[in-house]
């Protein structure tokens, strides 16, 4: 099983856990397993048409999956996936 780190605002929808072990051979499968275990996370991660929200960054170890094979990126048991909502703004 790989591990997904949950950012602090979303932990209330994930049983207050900071990290969750998930099954899945790809990033997409791992995220699907995560939302099947914690359905309340779905609306925070995905749009109504099932796409990852634009501000939700998903990293496999230290790599942005957008620059790998996106949700088809292969995942090994030793891998860590991080969900990182963007941090931006300005006056």
């Amino acid at each position: 099983m790989s591990k997904i780190h949950i950012p602090t605002p979303l932990r209330q929808y994930a049983g207050k856990q900071a990290a969750i072990a998930v099954n899945g051979g790809t990033v997409g499968d791992a995220l699907s397993d995560l939302v099947s275990k914690h359905p309340d996370l779905r609306r925070h991660l995905y749009t109504d048409d099932g796409k990852l929200r634009a501000f939700v960054n998903v990293y496999l170890n230290d790599e942005d999956v957008r620059y790998l094979q996106k949700e088809a990126t292969a995942v090994k048991d030793s891998d860590t996936i991080s969900i990182v909502p963007s941090i931006a703004g300005g006056r």
Binding site: H5, P7, T8, P9, Q12, A18, R43, H44, R53, F55, V56, N57, Y59, D62, D64, S82, V84, P85, S86, I87, A88, G89, G90, R91
Partner: protein, 144 residues
């Protein structure tokens, strides 16, 4: 409410002076207390990746955030908020700040930097249950 030490508070204000006339940004690490207070135990400076418009925009590289999050975890700290500066602009959240804020339940600290000197610093809690009803709420800053 946000609780922060005097030295951390001064450090984040000084960061805004150092990057003036550009916006600074950084992460507040610490604990969420039972009464909802966010207690800051350390701050982490970040680079502003908005090279195209650094005087009025900021963005933190997610990769830098992952590193900060990992180092904080090893110290028993969580991300409880963020800070940035508004060069020659009030310490109030902007429509851009709200649109691009996604860490519900966290603090967003803004320091106005006037002609290179840190002026007012305010903090806002991002409240709401999701993207549709999120809003910034003024919050008290208690300096230990």
């Amino acid at each position: 409410m946000l609780r922060i030490t005097q030295s951390q508070f001064e450090a984040l204000r000084r960061h805004g002076e150092e990057t003036y006339p550009h916006e600074c940004c950084g992460v507040l690490l610490g604990q969420f207390e039972d009464d909802g207070t966010r207690r800051v135990t350390s701050i982490a400076r970040c680079g502003n990746t908005r090279d195209d418009s650094p005087h009025n925009r900021y963005n933190i590289d997610p990769r830098e955030l992952i590193r900060i999050q990992r180092e904080g975890r090893e110290r028993g700290e969580d991300i409880v908020g963020f800070y940035h500066s508004h060069p020659d602009h009030p310490a109030q959240w902007s429509s851009t700040d709200l649109a691009e804020a996604h860490w519900l339940g966290c603090s967003y600290v803004i320091t106005a930097v006037e002609k290179g000197r840190a002026a007012v610093t305010n903090s806002f809690e991002l409240k709401g249950s999701d993207e549709n009803d999120k809003q910034f709420s003024d919050e008290k800053v208690e300096i230990d």
